[in-house]
């Protein structure tokens, strides 16, 4: 009950910020429309809607990191956390309370990308649902990054790290905007050492019905999501129990 009460408060704080909605839903949709328009004039294989939609969905998730990181860091650096830390809320109430409301938001964000993609020519198929499910570990990954950044940094640092750095890194190194094979070399190696390109590839494999290709890309995402979530929980708990939360 305490977790749900806290989760409900966090949902309201995020959803009542219009800027969050504009960036979280609006920006990925605008990109989808823009790149589809480019594709219709200058055909690029990468911007075909079934290739583009999973990539934009993954890119959109970087805003989930920004929302969660900003909320946690603002709470941490205000007296509100003083009030919360002196209440009977436990570490698990905090961690689940911060992460639970973000998961449905992230799934909704992915779903909106695919719904818009349907209007742009994506074929209706059960694979859309499969692709949404396959992207859930990516959603957990971005939520974990937000929890970690929010636990470590203040709101200005979070807006720089999650708002600028993460959105760019997840965009450039995901293979959504350009084919990583065209760049090759170290850039490609770095991209495939990180989870973003794997998340996009698994989403694309699911939507195209190429089920055997979903794994091992998805394992990369699940692995990264698990490790970062564990680190985030440890850091948050340590901060909660330290003198300088």
């Amino acid at each position: 009950m305490k977790t749900l009460t806290f989760a409900s408060r966090n949902s309201k704080e995020i959803l009542r910020d219009r800027l969050n909605l504009a960036f979280g839903i609006g920006f990925p949709v605008v990109l989808l429309l823009l790149l589809t328009a480019i594709q219709s004039n200058i055909p690029v294989k990468l911007f075909v809607i079934d290739q583009l939609a999973p990539g934009i969905a993954v890119f959109g998730l970087s805003f989930i990191s920004l929302f969660s990181g900003m909320l946690i860091s603002k709470d941490r650096t205000s007296s509100f956390m003083f009030r919360l830390f002196t209440s009977p809320l436990t570490s698990s109430n905090f961690i689940f309370g911060y992460t639970l409301p973000l998961l449905p938001m992230a799934i909704l964000q992915i779903a909106v990308c695919f719904i818009v993609a349907l209007f742009l020519g994506l074929t209706v198929s059960i694979n859309i649902l499969l692709s949404i499910i396959v992207l859930i570990p990516a959603a957990v990954l971005f939520i974990a990054i937000g929890l970690l950044c929010g636990s470590l940094f203040n709101d200005k640092q979070v807006s720089g790290i999650c708002g600028a750095l993460l959105t760019n890194v997840s965009a450039w190194l995901s293979g959504t905007w350009f084919d990583l094979d065209l760049v090759g070399g170290t850039f490609k190696s770095v991209a495939y050492a990180l989870p973003f390109a794997h998340a996009v590839r698994s989403g694309r494999a699911a939507i195209s019905g190429n089920y055997s290709s979903i794994f091992p890309d998805l394992w990369w995402v699940i692995g990264y999501a698990s490790i970062i979530m564990i680190i985030a929980i440890l850091v948050f708990t340590r901060k909660m129990n330290s003198d300088n939360a």
Binding site: R9, F82, R83, T86, S87, P88, N93, A245
Partner: protein, 244 residues
Amino acid sequence: MIAIKTTNLTKKYKKKIAVDSLNLTIDQGELFALLGVNGAGKSTTIKMLSCLVKPTYGDAMILGNSIISDSIKVKEHINVSPQETAIAPNLTVRENLEFIAGIYGSDRKEARQKAKDSISSFGLSKIAEDKSKTLSGGWQRRLSIAMALISEPKILFLDEPTLGLDVIARRELWSIIEKLKGKITIILTTHYLEEAESLSDRIGIMASGSLKAIGTADELMKRTNTAKFEDAFIALAKEGGKQI
């Protein structure tokens, strides 16, 4: 009945001693003011007693529960109105109150009823559906205290509750605090000496992490041979002043 008993409560930050062997007993229903200049150790004491900061040495018993080994039990009995206004900015006044009631264990129905009662008793009806970030400083502080009281704490920590408020808003909060006297134990920290003198049963004066004196305002003036409480405070709070 004893509400708070500290035994050699000490907090060190590296080489700096923020609170030095504090021994203090506060009775249930008492309004105890903790005074001191900046850096005297008041806020650190409040943070230790509310389980936010762990003591380096010593312990404190809150209604018989240790702040070190029984912190969850302690947290069920206390609530805090922090120095800066601590509210959820995008939630309405009513939602803020329901939220705090909920995290202290009330179910949805009970939280709604408690919020309704609190809105009525704190005169928050006109602004009940307003987002708290849109309220003036005085209303935010009033809400912050209402949030601290909605869990029906046995001990309430008020950390500089009237800081930055205009005279009227301050007097209104004084009236709210006076109504609570005798019902719950209140630990009040403030820089406004007239606030401590007017509201509290006893006053403790801290300087350089130590408790220099404790007593009623009259007792402290008598001990320092001063006619004004401000003069008594200055005499006692001076660094290196003798413990009385």
